[in-house]
Amino acid sequence: TVGCAALDKHGNLAAGTSTGGMTNKRWGRIGDSPIIGAGTYANNNTCAVSSTGWGEYFIRGMVAYDISALMAYKNLSLKEAAHEVIQNKLPSIDEGQGNGGIIAVDKNGNIAMEFNTSGMFRATMNDKGELYIGIFK
């Protein structure tokens, strides 16, 4: 799965996700990537999020929207909300099976890259042109 979240100079957030799904999938199985609120969510009042991981759990957890909701209703920061959903809520859904992560940017350009696996291919750039690229935790 690949994804991107961005904040532009006009203050507009957007997020997108694209995937081939899971190896050996059958019966027209669909994961979280095309589900708005699970794999992808964006709201100018909070944040833009793209998810990657075990889709069934991300759908049940409504992961992308949940991060936005924690910011909107609990006034959590993006980092706090992402940490709460990925590290605390997801694994508890079914005995630690909700593996994966998210990337997100908030309305102020703050970035979160939260994952509960040993690695996630990821990169960020800010308005100063500072580049970060990571693979492992």
């Binding site: 690949v2 979240a5 904040l7 997108g16 708005i36 075990w54 960020t124």
Partner: protein, 177 residues
């Protein structure tokens, strides 16, 4: 930050020991190429939607990632793509599921968002809509990669071993997008 951008190419249980320096370099190079596309759009005053779409296009066109060209195989040996996009300003959204012939599924998701009254289209109908919108259509063979076919064969072989998924690393890993 006046603007910023972040991308991912999938999460999983990759270990540094199993990743050669050359392999790490290849992934990092493609990630940098992709994010610089989006960064340039944003720096020049372009929209976040354009940055997201064009950045994802680079990753979709690479065989390294499980999307577009590098998509994994289904049980039937086909490649089926899903994608979605959302505009934070309008809360408008578009998504496609189960397409086999659309070269860049994120472009289809955006076309659904902007040029249809719907949020999600699936399978043959979504492909027809993509054709109507003039998106690039490819033969399903375009998505074939040796690496992903071998992964499918390994997964199927593991299934036949009568080992439970819980303790089988290949099967467990196969769940990840």
């Amino acid at each position: 930050n006046e603007f910023s951008i972040v991308i991912h190419g999938g999460a999983g249980f990759m270990k540094e020991d199993n990743f050669s320096p050359e392999k790490q370099k290849a992934y990092k190079k493609k990630l940098e190429e992709a994010i610089r596309v989006g960064y340039t759009i944003l720096k020049d005053g372009g929209s976040s939607l354009d940055a997201v779409e064009k950045t994802i296009n680079i990753l979709e066109d690479s065989p390294l990632f499980n999307a577009g060209k590098g998509a994994v195989f289904t049980n039937e040996g086909t490649n089926e793509h899903d994608a979605s996009i959302m505009d934070g300003k309008t809360l408008n959204a578009g998504a496609s599921a189960g397409t086999k012939t659309v070269k860049n599924p994120i472009n289809l998701a955006r076309a659904i968002m902007e040029k249809s009254p719907h949020v999600m289209l699936a399978r043959e109908g979504a492909e027809t809509f993509a054709e109507d919108q003039g998106l690039t259509i490819v033969d399903p063979e375009y998505f074939f990669t040796e690496k992903r076919m071998k992964a499918l064969e390994r997964t199927k072989a593991s299934e036949n071993k009568k080992v439970t998924a819980l303790y089988d690393a290949t099967l467990k890993a196969s769940k990840f997008g």
